[in-house]
Protein backbone atom coordinates (compact mmCIF):
# COMPACT_ATOMS: atom_id res chain seq x y z
CA UNK A 1 0.00 0.00 0.00
CA UNK A 2 1.26 3.45 -0.85
CA UNK A 3 1.90 5.55 2.21
CA UNK A 4 2.37 9.30 2.39
CA UNK A 5 3.25 11.61 5.21
CA UNK A 6 1.09 14.25 3.54
CA UNK A 7 -1.90 13.43 1.39
CA UNK A 8 -3.83 16.23 -0.29
CA UNK A 9 -7.16 15.80 -2.07
CA UNK A 10 -7.63 18.66 -4.52
CA UNK A 11 -5.08 19.97 -7.00
CA UNK A 12 -6.03 23.62 -7.02
CA UNK A 13 -5.60 26.81 -4.97
CA UNK A 14 -6.00 25.19 -1.55
CA UNK A 15 -4.04 22.03 -2.28
CA UNK A 16 -1.14 23.86 -3.89
CA UNK A 17 -1.11 26.48 -1.11
CA UNK A 18 -0.68 23.66 1.38
CA UNK A 19 1.97 21.81 -0.62
CA UNK A 20 4.07 24.95 -0.99
CA UNK A 21 3.86 25.70 2.73
CA UNK A 22 4.76 22.12 3.67
CA UNK A 23 7.85 22.25 1.44
CA UNK A 24 9.06 25.39 3.21
CA UNK A 25 9.77 23.34 6.32
CA UNK A 26 9.69 19.71 5.27
CA UNK A 27 11.70 19.36 2.07
CA UNK A 28 11.60 15.57 1.94
CA UNK A 29 8.47 14.23 3.69
CA UNK A 30 6.54 12.09 1.20
CA UNK A 31 3.61 13.92 -0.36
CA UNK A 32 0.90 13.22 -2.90
CA UNK A 33 -1.86 15.32 -4.44
CA UNK A 34 -4.98 13.59 -5.73
CA UNK A 35 -7.43 15.08 -8.20
CA UNK A 36 -10.16 13.68 -10.36
CA UNK A 37 -9.25 16.35 -12.90
CA UNK A 38 -6.50 15.10 -15.18
CA UNK A 39 -4.88 18.44 -15.85
CA UNK A 40 -1.70 19.89 -14.47
CA UNK A 41 -2.68 22.52 -11.90
CA UNK A 42 -4.41 25.45 -13.61
CA UNK A 43 -5.86 28.77 -12.53
CA UNK A 44 -9.55 27.95 -12.30
CA UNK A 45 -10.60 31.58 -12.84
CA UNK A 46 -8.63 31.55 -16.10
CA UNK A 47 -11.06 29.22 -17.85
CA UNK A 48 -13.03 32.26 -19.00
CA UNK A 49 -9.92 33.92 -20.42
CA UNK A 50 -9.18 30.75 -22.35
CA UNK A 51 -12.75 30.44 -23.57
CA UNK A 52 -12.58 34.04 -24.81
CA UNK A 53 -9.29 33.42 -26.65
CA UNK A 54 -7.68 36.03 -24.41
CA UNK A 55 -4.90 33.61 -23.44
CA UNK A 56 -3.31 30.59 -25.10
CA UNK A 57 -3.83 27.14 -23.65
CA UNK A 58 -0.38 26.92 -22.04
CA UNK A 59 -1.00 30.16 -20.12
CA UNK A 60 -3.79 28.63 -18.08
CA UNK A 61 -1.39 26.51 -16.05
CA UNK A 62 -0.73 27.92 -12.62
CA UNK A 63 2.72 26.51 -11.96
CA UNK A 64 5.53 25.39 -14.29
CA UNK A 65 5.25 21.85 -15.65
CA UNK A 66 8.16 20.61 -13.52
CA UNK A 67 6.38 21.79 -10.37
CA UNK A 68 5.53 18.36 -8.91
CA UNK A 69 8.98 16.97 -9.69
CA UNK A 70 10.78 19.90 -8.16
CA UNK A 71 8.63 19.79 -5.04
CA UNK A 72 8.89 15.99 -4.82
CA UNK A 73 5.15 15.50 -5.03
CA UNK A 74 3.41 12.47 -6.51
CA UNK A 75 0.57 13.85 -8.62
CA UNK A 76 -2.21 11.28 -8.72
CA UNK A 77 -4.37 12.86 -11.40
CA UNK A 78 -7.53 11.64 -13.04
CA UNK A 79 -8.37 9.57 -9.96
CA UNK A 80 -11.23 10.23 -7.63
CA UNK A 81 -11.10 9.66 -3.90
CA UNK A 82 -14.28 7.77 -3.09
CA UNK A 83 -13.87 6.98 0.58
CA UNK A 84 -11.87 7.94 3.63
CA UNK A 85 -11.47 5.55 6.52
CA UNK A 86 -10.54 7.90 9.32
CA UNK A 87 -9.85 5.11 11.83
CA UNK A 88 -7.27 3.44 9.60
CA UNK A 89 -6.12 6.70 7.93
CA UNK A 90 -6.76 5.34 4.47
CA UNK A 91 -8.15 6.98 1.35
CA UNK A 92 -9.67 4.75 -1.31
CA UNK A 93 -9.55 5.78 -4.97
CA UNK A 94 -12.09 4.96 -7.66
CA UNK A 95 -9.77 2.30 -9.05
CA UNK A 96 -9.90 0.65 -5.58
CA UNK A 97 -6.34 1.57 -4.66
CA UNK A 98 -5.93 2.30 -0.98
CA UNK A 99 -3.52 5.01 0.13
CA UNK A 100 -2.42 5.50 3.70
CA UNK A 101 -1.75 8.96 5.12
CA UNK A 102 -0.32 10.55 8.22
CA UNK A 103 -1.81 13.98 7.57
CA UNK A 104 -4.75 14.52 5.24
CA UNK A 105 -5.96 17.75 3.64
CA UNK A 106 -9.43 18.01 2.18
CA UNK A 107 -9.21 20.70 -0.49
CA UNK A 108 -12.06 19.37 -2.58
CA UNK A 109 -13.40 22.76 -3.61
CA UNK A 110 -16.83 23.40 -5.00
CA UNK A 111 -19.38 21.79 -7.21
CA UNK A 112 -21.67 23.71 -9.54
CA UNK A 113 -25.27 24.05 -8.48
CA UNK A 114 -27.63 23.11 -11.30
CA UNK A 115 -31.29 23.76 -10.53
CA UNK A 116 -33.96 21.26 -11.58
CA UNK A 117 -35.04 23.02 -14.77
CA UNK A 118 -37.23 21.14 -17.22
CA UNK A 119 -35.37 19.97 -20.29
CA UNK A 120 -31.90 20.02 -18.77
CA UNK A 121 -31.99 16.22 -18.75
CA UNK A 122 -32.70 16.15 -22.50
CA UNK A 123 -30.71 18.98 -24.02
CA UNK A 124 -27.07 19.88 -23.98
CA UNK A 125 -26.03 22.57 -21.53
CA UNK A 126 -22.80 23.50 -19.78
CA UNK A 127 -21.53 24.38 -16.35
CA UNK A 128 -18.59 26.75 -16.16
CA UNK A 129 -16.34 25.56 -13.39
CA UNK A 130 -13.58 23.43 -14.86
CA UNK A 131 -11.04 23.56 -17.65
CA UNK A 132 -12.92 20.65 -19.22
CA UNK A 133 -16.06 22.83 -19.29
CA UNK A 134 -14.08 25.50 -21.11
CA UNK A 135 -12.64 22.94 -23.53
CA UNK A 136 -16.08 21.44 -24.19
CA UNK A 137 -17.64 24.82 -24.89
CA UNK A 138 -14.74 25.70 -27.20
CA UNK A 139 -15.21 22.43 -29.00
CA UNK A 140 -18.92 23.16 -29.33
CA UNK A 141 -18.16 26.59 -30.79
CA UNK A 142 -15.73 25.15 -33.29
CA UNK A 143 -18.28 22.62 -34.52
CA UNK A 144 -21.17 24.92 -35.22
CA UNK A 145 -21.61 28.66 -35.51
CA UNK A 146 -23.55 29.92 -32.55
CA UNK A 147 -25.39 33.23 -32.81
CA UNK A 148 -26.80 33.52 -29.33
CA UNK A 149 -25.87 32.11 -25.95
CA UNK A 150 -27.89 32.24 -22.76
CA UNK A 151 -26.08 32.37 -19.45
CA UNK A 152 -28.14 31.66 -16.36
CA UNK A 153 -26.64 33.64 -13.49
CA UNK A 154 -25.38 37.21 -13.33
CA UNK A 155 -22.77 36.61 -10.67
CA UNK A 156 -19.03 36.75 -11.18
CA UNK A 157 -18.79 33.41 -13.00
CA UNK A 158 -21.81 34.10 -15.21
CA UNK A 159 -20.54 37.52 -16.23
CA UNK A 160 -17.03 36.23 -16.91
CA UNK A 161 -18.58 33.54 -19.14
CA UNK A 162 -20.64 36.26 -20.87
CA UNK A 163 -17.53 38.39 -21.39
CA UNK A 164 -15.64 35.46 -22.90
CA UNK A 165 -18.44 34.51 -25.30
CA UNK A 166 -18.81 38.16 -26.34
CA UNK A 167 -15.11 38.18 -27.17
CA UNK A 168 -15.85 35.24 -29.46
CA UNK A 169 -18.43 37.30 -31.33
CA UNK A 170 -21.49 35.65 -29.82
CA UNK A 171 -24.59 37.54 -28.70
CA UNK A 172 -24.98 36.82 -25.03
CA UNK A 173 -28.05 37.16 -22.86
CA UNK A 174 -27.51 36.90 -19.12
CA UNK A 175 -30.56 35.86 -17.11
CA UNK A 176 -30.40 36.78 -13.42
CA UNK A 177 -33.18 36.19 -10.93
CA UNK A 178 -32.08 38.98 -8.57
CA UNK A 179 -32.90 42.55 -9.52
CA UNK A 180 -29.26 43.29 -10.37
CA UNK A 181 -25.98 41.65 -11.36
CA UNK A 182 -23.26 40.73 -8.86
CA UNK A 183 -25.66 41.33 -5.98
CA UNK A 184 -23.67 39.40 -3.36
CA UNK A 185 -20.47 41.37 -3.92
CA UNK A 186 -21.53 44.86 -5.05
CA UNK A 187 -24.09 47.41 -3.90
CA UNK A 188 -26.86 48.82 -6.12
CA UNK A 189 -24.74 51.66 -7.44
CA UNK A 190 -21.74 49.54 -8.38
CA UNK A 191 -23.98 46.84 -9.90
CA UNK A 192 -25.61 49.45 -12.09
CA UNK A 193 -22.25 50.69 -13.36
CA UNK A 194 -21.08 47.15 -14.18
CA UNK A 195 -24.37 46.38 -15.88
CA UNK A 196 -23.86 49.51 -18.03
CA UNK A 197 -20.36 48.38 -18.90
CA UNK A 198 -21.32 44.86 -19.98
CA UNK A 199 -24.39 46.12 -21.85
CA UNK A 200 -22.33 48.68 -23.72
CA UNK A 201 -20.14 45.77 -24.84
CA UNK A 202 -23.21 44.06 -26.27
CA UNK A 203 -24.29 41.72 -23.47
CA UNK A 204 -28.03 41.76 -22.83
CA UNK A 205 -28.82 41.56 -19.12
CA UNK A 206 -32.27 40.35 -18.08
CA UNK A 207 -32.71 40.80 -14.33
CA UNK A 208 -35.63 39.74 -12.15
CA UNK A 209 -36.31 36.69 -14.28
CA UNK A 210 -35.31 33.12 -14.87
CA UNK A 211 -36.16 30.44 -17.38
CA UNK A 212 -38.29 27.43 -16.60
CA UNK A 213 -37.46 25.16 -19.48
CA UNK A 214 -34.79 24.37 -21.99
CA UNK A 215 -36.08 23.28 -25.38
CA UNK A 216 -34.34 21.82 -28.38
CA UNK A 217 -34.13 18.94 -30.70
CA UNK A 218 -31.94 15.94 -31.17
CA UNK A 219 -30.28 16.56 -27.82
CA UNK A 220 -29.24 20.09 -28.81
CA UNK A 221 -30.74 23.09 -27.05
CA UNK A 222 -32.26 25.69 -29.35
CA UNK A 223 -33.94 27.94 -26.84
CA UNK A 224 -35.25 28.57 -23.36
CA UNK A 225 -38.73 29.35 -22.14
CA UNK A 226 -38.64 32.31 -19.78
CA UNK A 227 -40.82 32.60 -16.68
CA UNK A 228 -42.88 35.07 -18.69
CA UNK A 229 -43.65 32.32 -21.21
CA UNK A 230 -41.59 33.98 -23.92
CA UNK A 231 -39.18 31.77 -25.85
CA UNK A 232 -35.66 33.00 -26.45
CA UNK A 233 -33.76 31.27 -29.23
CA UNK A 234 -30.20 30.29 -28.52
CA UNK A 235 -27.58 27.79 -29.54
CA UNK A 236 -25.81 27.46 -26.24
CA UNK A 237 -26.98 27.30 -22.63
CA UNK A 238 -24.60 27.88 -19.71
CA UNK A 239 -25.73 27.39 -16.13
CA UNK A 240 -23.66 29.55 -13.77
CA UNK A 241 -25.76 30.25 -10.74
CA UNK A 242 -23.33 29.22 -8.10
CA UNK A 243 -20.98 26.80 -6.48
CA UNK A 244 -21.56 24.72 -3.37
CA UNK A 245 -18.99 23.03 -1.16
CA UNK A 246 -18.04 19.65 -2.56
CA UNK A 247 -18.36 17.47 0.50
CA UNK A 248 -19.74 14.22 -0.91
CA UNK A 249 -16.56 12.41 0.14
CA UNK A 250 -17.15 13.11 3.83
CA UNK A 251 -20.91 13.25 3.86
CA UNK A 252 -21.55 10.18 5.98
CA UNK A 253 -18.37 10.37 7.99
CA UNK A 254 -17.41 11.57 11.44
CA UNK A 255 -16.11 14.82 9.93
CA UNK A 256 -18.14 17.69 11.30
CA UNK A 257 -20.06 19.56 8.63
CA UNK A 258 -22.13 22.67 8.58
CA UNK A 259 -22.64 24.30 5.18
CA UNK A 260 -19.07 23.25 4.51
CA UNK A 261 -16.44 21.31 6.43
CA UNK A 262 -15.99 22.85 9.87
CA UNK A 263 -12.44 23.91 10.72
CA UNK A 264 -10.73 25.99 13.40
CA UNK A 265 -8.19 28.76 12.81
CA UNK A 266 -5.49 26.11 12.38
CA UNK A 267 -7.58 24.66 9.54
CA UNK A 268 -8.04 21.45 11.53
CA UNK A 269 -11.27 19.52 11.29
CA UNK A 270 -12.70 17.73 14.31
CA UNK A 271 -10.72 14.62 13.29
CA UNK A 272 -7.05 14.54 14.38
CA UNK A 273 -4.57 14.93 11.49
CA UNK A 274 -7.32 15.89 9.06
CA UNK A 275 -7.42 19.44 7.72
CA UNK A 276 -9.63 21.30 5.27
CA UNK A 277 -9.45 24.56 3.31
CA UNK A 278 -10.87 26.44 0.37
CA UNK A 279 -14.31 26.26 -1.18
CA UNK A 280 -15.25 23.06 0.67
CA UNK A 281 -14.68 24.52 4.14
CA UNK A 282 -16.16 27.12 6.45
CA UNK A 283 -13.14 29.22 7.28
CA UNK A 284 -12.43 32.10 9.62
CA UNK A 285 -13.54 35.57 8.52
CA UNK A 286 -11.68 38.33 10.37
CA UNK A 287 -14.40 40.86 9.72
CA UNK A 288 -17.35 39.03 11.24
CA UNK A 289 -15.08 37.11 13.63
CA UNK A 290 -16.90 34.01 12.52
CA UNK A 291 -16.47 30.94 10.34
CA UNK A 292 -18.19 30.92 6.97
CA UNK A 293 -17.91 29.97 3.33
CA UNK A 294 -15.49 32.25 1.51
CA UNK A 295 -15.24 30.56 -1.89
CA UNK A 296 -12.44 32.58 -3.42
CA UNK A 297 -9.05 31.85 -4.88
CA UNK A 298 -6.92 33.96 -2.48
CA UNK A 299 -8.68 32.67 0.63
CA UNK A 300 -8.39 29.10 -0.64
CA UNK A 301 -4.67 29.49 -1.28
CA UNK A 302 -3.87 31.26 2.00
CA UNK A 303 -6.09 28.90 4.01
CA UNK A 304 -4.33 25.98 2.35
CA UNK A 305 -0.99 27.56 3.08
CA UNK A 306 -1.84 27.83 6.78
CA UNK A 307 -3.12 24.25 6.77
CA UNK A 308 0.19 23.17 5.23
CA UNK A 309 2.23 24.94 7.89
CA UNK A 310 0.24 23.24 10.60
CA UNK A 311 0.48 19.85 8.90
CA UNK A 312 4.26 20.26 8.83
CA UNK A 313 4.32 21.09 12.52
CA UNK A 314 4.38 24.91 12.50
CA UNK A 315 1.43 26.17 14.48
CA UNK A 316 -0.12 29.07 12.56
CA UNK A 317 -3.53 30.66 12.54
CA UNK A 318 -5.54 31.70 9.52
CA UNK A 319 -6.77 35.22 10.24
CA UNK A 320 -6.15 36.84 6.86
CA UNK A 321 -9.39 36.26 5.00
CA UNK A 322 -12.77 37.80 4.46
CA UNK A 323 -15.02 38.18 1.44
CA UNK A 324 -12.84 39.93 -1.17
CA UNK A 325 -13.31 40.21 -4.89
CA UNK A 326 -11.14 41.71 -7.57
CA UNK A 327 -12.39 41.39 -11.10
CA UNK A 328 -12.24 43.06 -14.46
CA UNK A 329 -14.97 43.15 -17.10
CA UNK A 330 -13.97 44.29 -20.57
CA UNK A 331 -11.05 46.27 -19.16
CA UNK A 332 -13.17 47.80 -16.41
CA UNK A 333 -11.79 47.01 -12.93
CA UNK A 334 -13.73 46.48 -9.70
CA UNK A 335 -12.61 45.54 -6.20
CA UNK A 336 -14.81 45.01 -3.17
CA UNK A 337 -14.35 43.49 0.26
CA UNK A 338 -16.28 43.02 3.48
CA UNK A 339 -19.77 44.43 3.85
CA UNK A 340 -21.27 46.17 0.84
CA UNK A 341 -24.26 47.54 2.74
CA UNK A 342 -24.72 47.75 6.52
CA UNK A 343 -26.09 44.39 7.67
CA UNK A 344 -29.59 44.43 9.17
CA UNK A 345 -29.74 45.90 12.60
CA UNK A 346 -26.22 47.34 12.52
CA UNK A 347 -25.34 51.01 12.45
CA UNK A 348 -22.58 51.87 10.02
CA UNK A 349 -21.40 55.15 8.65
CA UNK A 350 -21.39 55.10 4.87
CA UNK A 351 -18.95 57.20 2.83
CA UNK A 352 -19.46 57.34 -0.91
CA UNK A 353 -18.12 59.26 -3.85
CA UNK A 354 -19.33 58.86 -7.39
CA UNK A 355 -17.99 60.53 -10.52
CA UNK A 356 -20.40 59.61 -13.29
CA UNK A 357 -18.24 61.18 -16.01
CA UNK A 358 -15.35 58.79 -15.18
CA UNK A 359 -17.67 55.98 -14.10
CA UNK A 360 -15.73 55.81 -10.84
CA UNK A 361 -17.29 54.97 -7.53
CA UNK A 362 -15.84 54.48 -4.07
CA UNK A 363 -17.61 53.39 -0.94
CA UNK A 364 -16.58 52.68 2.63
CA UNK A 365 -18.56 51.32 5.56
CA UNK A 366 -17.31 52.37 8.96
CA UNK A 367 -18.28 51.12 12.41
CA UNK A 368 -16.63 52.23 15.64
CA UNK A 369 -13.94 53.99 13.58
CA UNK A 370 -13.08 50.75 11.83
CA UNK A 371 -13.55 50.10 8.12
CA UNK A 372 -15.96 47.19 7.62
CA UNK A 373 -16.41 47.29 3.89
CA UNK A 374 -15.11 48.82 0.67
CA UNK A 375 -16.05 49.11 -2.98
CA UNK A 376 -13.78 50.52 -5.69
CA UNK A 377 -15.14 50.87 -9.21
CA UNK A 378 -12.95 51.74 -12.19
CA UNK A 379 -10.24 53.27 -10.02
CA UNK A 380 -8.81 50.42 -7.96
CA UNK A 381 -5.19 51.33 -7.37
CA UNK A 382 -4.17 51.11 -3.68
CA UNK A 383 -7.38 49.27 -2.70
CA UNK A 384 -5.15 46.84 -0.80
CA UNK A 385 -4.19 49.60 1.63
CA UNK A 386 -7.82 49.78 2.76
CA UNK A 387 -8.16 46.01 3.04
CA UNK A 388 -5.03 46.08 5.20
CA UNK A 389 -6.62 48.67 7.48
CA UNK A 390 -9.72 46.49 7.73
CA UNK A 391 -7.64 43.45 8.64
CA UNK A 392 -5.53 45.27 11.22
CA UNK A 393 -8.66 46.88 12.72
CA UNK A 394 -7.03 50.30 12.44
CA UNK A 395 -8.82 53.28 13.97
CA UNK A 396 -9.32 55.54 10.96
CA UNK A 397 -10.77 58.58 12.74
CA UNK A 398 -7.67 60.73 12.24
CA UNK A 399 -7.66 60.34 8.44
CA UNK A 400 -11.26 59.48 7.66
CA UNK A 401 -11.69 62.64 5.59
CA UNK A 402 -8.97 61.52 3.20
CA UNK A 403 -10.40 58.06 2.51
CA UNK A 404 -12.52 59.09 -0.46
CA UNK A 405 -9.66 60.81 -2.26
CA UNK A 406 -8.89 59.17 -5.56
CA UNK A 407 -5.19 58.82 -4.64
CA UNK A 408 -5.70 57.73 -1.02
CA UNK A 409 -2.76 55.58 -0.06
CA UNK A 410 0.05 54.91 2.37
CA UNK A 411 1.10 58.57 2.44
CA UNK A 412 -2.18 59.53 4.13
CA UNK A 413 -1.72 57.13 7.02
CA UNK A 414 -0.38 58.09 10.46
CA UNK A 415 3.41 58.06 10.88
CA UNK A 416 3.60 54.69 12.63
CA UNK A 417 1.75 52.95 9.83
CA UNK A 418 3.76 54.78 7.18
CA UNK A 419 6.95 53.58 8.80
CA UNK A 420 5.68 50.02 8.71
CA UNK A 421 4.79 50.37 5.05
CA UNK A 422 8.18 51.84 4.24
CA UNK A 423 10.49 49.65 6.24
CA UNK A 424 8.85 46.53 7.69
CA UNK A 425 9.50 43.15 6.12
CA UNK A 426 5.95 41.95 6.59
Amino acid sequence: MRHYKYLIIGNSAGGIGAAEAIRKTDKEGSMAIISDEEHHVYGRPLISYYLGDEIDYDKIFYRPFDFYDKKKIDAILGKKAVKVDFDRSIVTLDDAEEIEYEKLLLATGGTPFVPPIKGLDKYEHFSFITLDDSLKIRERLSRKKIETAIVLGGGLIGLKAAEALTMRGINVKVVELADRVLSPVLDEQASAIIQDVVESEGVEVITGHTFNEVVGNGGMANGVIMDTGVKIDCGLVIIAIGVRPRIDLVKDSPVKLNRGIVVNKHMETNIPNVYACGDCAEVYDFLSDNFRLTPLWPTAYVGGNIAGHNMAGNAKEYVWGTGMNAVDFFGFPVISAGYINPPEGQEMEVLTKIEPENMTYKKFLIQDNRIMGMIFVNEVDRAGVILGLMRDKVDVSSFKDDLLRIDFGAVHLPIKLREEINTAAV
Binding site: G43, E54, D381, G388, V411, T423, A425
Partner: protein, 153 residues
Amino acid sequence: MRRVIAKEEVCIGCRLCEIWCQVQHSDTKDIIKAFKKEDKQAVPRVHVEEEGARSFGLQCRNCEEPYCVYSCISGAMYYDEETGTVQHDPEKCVGCWTCIMACHRGAILRDERGERVAAKCDMCTELEVPACVAHCPNEALILVEDDQEEETE
Protein backbone atom coordinates in the same frame (compact mmCIF):
# COMPACT_ATOMS: atom_id res chain seq x y z
CA MET B 1 16.35 39.03 1.38
CA ARG B 2 16.72 41.91 -1.07
CA ARG B 3 14.53 44.84 -0.15
CA VAL B 4 14.30 48.55 -0.87
CA ILE B 5 13.10 50.68 2.01
CA ALA B 6 12.14 54.36 2.01
CA LYS B 7 12.99 57.22 4.36
CA GLU B 8 10.36 59.91 4.08
CA GLU B 9 12.29 62.34 6.29
CA VAL B 10 14.88 62.84 3.53
CA CYS B 11 12.71 62.36 0.42
CA ILE B 12 12.19 65.66 -1.42
CA GLY B 13 9.76 64.27 -3.96
CA CYS B 14 12.08 64.89 -6.94
CA ARG B 15 10.79 61.76 -8.70
CA LEU B 16 14.21 60.83 -10.05
CA CYS B 17 13.42 57.30 -8.84
CA GLU B 18 10.42 57.17 -11.17
CA ILE B 19 12.46 58.52 -14.07
CA TRP B 20 15.35 56.09 -13.64
CA CYS B 21 13.00 53.19 -13.06
CA GLN B 22 11.34 53.96 -16.36
CA VAL B 23 14.71 54.15 -18.09
CA GLN B 24 15.80 50.85 -16.57
CA HIS B 25 12.62 49.16 -17.83
CA SER B 26 12.69 50.74 -21.27
CA ASP B 27 13.83 48.90 -24.39
CA THR B 28 16.89 51.06 -24.97
CA LYS B 29 17.82 51.91 -21.36
CA ASP B 30 18.79 55.32 -22.71
CA ILE B 31 17.14 58.22 -20.92
CA ILE B 32 16.54 60.42 -23.97
CA LYS B 33 15.27 57.56 -26.12
CA ALA B 34 13.24 56.09 -23.28
CA PHE B 35 11.29 59.31 -22.89
CA LYS B 36 11.27 60.68 -26.41
CA LYS B 37 11.72 57.93 -28.96
CA GLU B 38 10.25 54.67 -27.78
CA ASP B 39 6.76 53.99 -29.13
CA LYS B 40 5.66 52.19 -26.05
CA GLN B 41 6.98 53.94 -23.00
CA ALA B 42 7.89 51.77 -20.07
CA VAL B 43 5.91 52.34 -16.89
CA PRO B 44 7.83 53.22 -13.74
CA ARG B 45 7.21 50.59 -11.07
CA VAL B 46 8.12 52.92 -8.23
CA HIS B 47 5.86 55.85 -7.58
CA VAL B 48 6.34 58.82 -5.33
CA GLU B 49 3.50 59.09 -2.86
CA GLU B 50 3.09 62.73 -2.01
CA GLU B 51 0.97 64.81 0.34
CA GLY B 52 2.13 68.37 0.91
CA ALA B 53 5.76 68.33 2.01
CA ARG B 54 5.57 64.64 2.89
CA SER B 55 6.72 62.15 0.28
CA PHE B 56 8.38 58.79 -0.25
CA GLY B 57 9.10 56.42 -3.07
CA LEU B 58 6.91 53.33 -2.91
CA GLN B 59 7.85 50.08 -4.58
CA CYS B 60 7.76 46.37 -3.77
CA ARG B 61 9.22 45.73 -0.32
CA ASN B 62 9.57 42.02 -1.01
CA CYS B 63 7.30 40.95 1.88
CA GLU B 64 8.23 37.85 3.83
CA GLU B 65 4.67 36.66 3.36
CA PRO B 66 3.94 37.79 -0.20
CA TYR B 67 0.15 37.88 -0.28
CA CYS B 68 0.23 39.14 -3.85
CA VAL B 69 1.79 35.81 -4.82
CA TYR B 70 -0.64 33.86 -2.66
CA SER B 71 -3.60 35.69 -4.17
CA CYS B 72 -2.62 35.65 -7.83
CA ILE B 73 -5.10 33.58 -9.84
CA SER B 74 -2.83 32.98 -12.84
CA GLY B 75 0.59 32.28 -11.36
CA ALA B 76 1.96 35.48 -12.93
CA MET B 77 3.06 36.72 -9.53
CA TYR B 78 5.66 34.32 -8.19
CA TYR B 79 8.44 33.93 -5.71
CA ASP B 80 11.72 33.47 -7.52
CA GLU B 81 13.85 31.16 -5.41
CA GLU B 82 17.04 32.00 -7.26
CA THR B 83 16.98 35.70 -6.45
CA GLY B 84 14.83 35.47 -3.33
CA THR B 85 12.45 38.07 -4.72
CA VAL B 86 8.80 38.38 -5.68
CA GLN B 87 8.53 38.72 -9.43
CA HIS B 88 5.75 39.32 -11.92
CA ASP B 89 5.44 37.84 -15.39
CA PRO B 90 3.29 40.20 -17.50
CA GLU B 91 2.98 37.47 -20.14
CA LYS B 92 1.03 35.34 -17.69
CA CYS B 93 -0.92 38.22 -16.11
CA VAL B 94 -4.60 38.49 -17.07
CA GLY B 95 -5.25 41.77 -15.28
CA CYS B 96 -7.72 40.63 -12.60
CA TRP B 97 -6.22 43.08 -10.06
CA THR B 98 -6.28 40.60 -7.19
CA CYS B 99 -2.67 41.54 -6.40
CA ILE B 100 -3.70 45.18 -6.04
CA MET B 101 -6.31 44.05 -3.54
CA ALA B 102 -3.76 41.91 -1.69
CA CYS B 103 -0.91 44.42 -1.40
CA HIS B 104 -1.44 46.28 1.85
CA ARG B 105 1.25 48.80 0.91
CA GLY B 106 -0.40 49.83 -2.34
CA ALA B 107 2.82 49.14 -4.22
CA ILE B 108 1.29 47.42 -7.27
CA LEU B 109 -0.45 49.53 -9.87
CA ARG B 110 -2.15 48.89 -13.17
CA ASP B 111 0.01 49.25 -16.23
CA GLU B 112 -1.32 52.59 -17.42
CA ARG B 113 -0.51 51.90 -21.04
CA GLY B 114 -3.78 50.05 -21.13
CA GLU B 115 -2.22 46.61 -21.25
CA ARG B 116 -4.58 45.09 -18.68
CA VAL B 117 -1.62 43.78 -16.67
CA ALA B 118 -0.17 44.75 -13.33
CA ALA B 119 3.07 46.73 -13.08
CA LYS B 120 5.32 45.72 -10.21
CA CYS B 121 8.84 46.55 -9.11
CA ASP B 122 11.28 43.72 -9.95
CA MET B 123 13.94 45.00 -7.54
CA CYS B 124 16.37 45.25 -10.49
CA THR B 125 17.80 41.86 -9.60
CA GLU B 126 20.17 42.04 -12.57
CA LEU B 127 21.83 45.13 -11.09
CA GLU B 128 23.96 45.31 -8.00
CA VAL B 129 21.90 48.28 -6.79
CA PRO B 130 18.37 48.98 -8.08
CA ALA B 131 18.14 52.00 -10.39
CA CYS B 132 15.87 53.95 -8.04
CA VAL B 133 18.27 53.51 -5.12
CA ALA B 134 21.33 54.31 -7.21
CA HIS B 135 19.84 57.56 -8.49
CA CYS B 136 18.22 58.82 -5.31
CA PRO B 137 20.16 61.99 -4.45
CA ASN B 138 19.32 61.88 -0.73
CA GLU B 139 19.53 58.24 0.25
CA ALA B 140 15.81 58.31 0.74
CA LEU B 141 15.69 54.87 -0.86
CA ILE B 142 17.99 52.27 0.62
CA LEU B 143 18.79 48.73 -0.41
CA VAL B 144 18.89 46.25 2.43
CA GLU B 145 19.90 42.62 2.15
CA ASP B 146 18.85 40.38 5.01
CA ASP B 147 22.17 40.10 6.83
CA GLN B 148 22.72 43.87 7.06
CA GLU B 149 19.14 44.67 8.02
CA GLU B 150 19.93 45.39 11.63
CA GLU B 151 22.61 48.01 10.99
CA THR B 152 20.53 49.86 8.43
CA GLU B 153 17.38 50.14 10.49
